[in-house]
Symmetry: C2
Subunit: 328 residues, 2 copies
């Protein structure tokens, strides 16, 4: 279902709203200003429609001419922010957070140190030895609920993941951050001056029409293609983590989606035009075609456009293998 | 896949040709004249296209205004046949016969008694206690390979089917017949005079343009809605059976189709745009959508138009239950 022209965050996979809509409204009504959205320029219309449908009015919609990973994208937002001293809450738009109250409490815990100049990442309490996430070793406490980051651990092999889960002193790096815009820009100036310069020039040479900000492609392409973790968080000294249990899920596979989806009495998580008889523990999704299932269990069935995907639960990581076979 | 506007016989389920095409060409090149086709008038164009594509030129295409079961349909053909004394080989167009040589040998065995006025049915050697077919008790031999029909048995309960299979003296009634046109019409005159009269009038009041024969609807509707078995075969006295093993299959379910389909090394019978990885003993059919399967076994997956059907092998009889649920 997720395709370049309509990526995961623009699909209503987990609720009636798309994940972009859920993200844009997650902290609405709090002390936060209107959102700054950074996105691929090709998705402009879809983003505006989806945000308008939930009453979210971005103060800026920054339209990247090409993707250069998260560090330059966040630099764009930090430079466009109205108040350089204001804390920026940086959220990927393709994650699910079920317990928003817990998330808000974590934000409240982080704010004092953030206003003091710390950069905060939210550490997801791990419940499995996932090898698809980066980990954070939680260090000494520096405020109520806030700890210094001892170190970042790249996506680990399974044995290391199991050891960290058993240790208990680690959290997943969920990719959600809180820091002042100027703190981030200062860190970039120190560790990635070429990137900061490229992003600054892309805005200076770009154009702004209403809320639409269009960085110039040539200078933006000169920014190194780096994640915020690699470019800044792993290098800076005043980096803190707020561990939090909040029903976080990056919906990285159909199995992950099944795990967080509401199920019927038979354990089936169904959305769309689906008839299931004598069927248990299946995930069925369709955006058009009618699916009829009889007497099957533990299957993932997805129909999208002209494509139908069928695989057993527990094997949805193999979709990538399938896509490669389809290209062949 | 089978729908009123495009029934099973007009689908290429078992080969590159549709079952209508396979039937029309099955005895081509033998001593048989060009076929007489009896069909629903709504399928006229599709039938002509399919027959033309395999070079089959019917001597008559009889277009029923409504369906009145097989006895009146065959009466139309018998009345339209050029030579009333010629043997008619009556074949449903939605059956598969894999061993055409065996079928031809059975026809050759039957011809002498047929020319002598007997009505012959071909008895399929049963290989399972099927409850979906009628059975024939094979009687005394009357010629080489030809036996008198002792009696017809309606679709039996399982215990009876098992007993007949164990007995060995029974054959399935495959619905394929050989008799002279006049023998059939004589039997109708004796057992179903109202039917014969109605069919005669439908032709007299109907029209014929080229090969297209259009019986008049009003008299044809007066013909009783009866099968040839009930109207004639079970009543007439000179009825014979030629038992034959010829890879006959009425493709009555997706399981039946899987059983007769060529399979790959993994036991998968696949037709259409299907990618199957680590998949075994599955049937996958699509007339448009692209199916991708990973790590599944013993599934039937069918995509047709806007519909997708998924069920385990061995349960394809439950498609009817599913259709009822879909109507609800």
């Amino acid at each position: 279902m997720s395709r370049p022209e309509r990526p995961k965050q623009m699909l209503a996979l987990t609720a009636d709203e798309t994940m972009l809509q859920l993200t844009a409204t997650r902290v609405a009504g709090e002390a936060f200003d209107a959102p700054i959205v950074v996105a691929n320029a090709r998705h402009t219309d879809m983003i505006e429609e989806q945000l308008a449908a939930v009453g979210a009015k971005p103060q800026a919609l920054i339209l990247e001419p090409i993707g250069r990973n998260t560090a330059p994208a966040i630099a764009l937002a930090a430079l466009v922010a109205r108040d350089p001293e204001a804390p920026l809450l940086v959220m990927p738009s393709d994650h699910v957070i079920e317990d928003v109250d817990a998330f808000r409490a974590a934000i409240a815990a982080a704010l004092p140190v953030v206003q003091d100049g710390w950069m905060v990442t939210f550490g997801i309490a791990p419940d499995a030895p996932e090898i698809g996430y980066g980990y954070i070793k939680v260090g000494e406490p520096i405020a109520d609920g806030v700890h210094r980051v001892d170190r970042f651990v790249e996506k680990p092999p399974l044995a290391d993941a199991e050891a960290m889960l058993a240790d208990g002193g680690y959290a997943w790096n969920g990719g959600i951050f809180l820091f002042r815009a100027d703190a981030y820009l200062d860190a970039l100036a120190q560790y990635e001056p070429v990137m900061l310069d490229a992003v600054r020039r892309s805005l200076a040479e770009g154009e702004r029409v209403g809320t639409h900000v269009r960085p110039a492609a040539k200078p933006f392409a000169e920014a190194p293609n780096e994640s915020i973790d690699y470019a800044v968080m792993e290098k800076a000294s005043r980096v803190a983590v707020v561990p939090v249990t909040m029903g976080w899920n990056d919906v990285g596979s159909w199995d992950a989606l099944h795990a967080i989806s509401a199920a019927d009495a038979g354990g089936n998580a169904i959305r769309g035009d689906v008839i299931a008889l004598d069927t248990t523990n299946c995930l069925a999704r369709t955006d058009g075609a009618r699916i009829a299932m009889v007497g099957v269990s533990n299957l993932i069935v997805v129909a999208s456009g002209n494509d139908i995907l069928i695989l057993p639960r527990g094997r949805s990581q193999e979709v990538k293998k399938l896509l490669e076979a389809m290209k062949d």
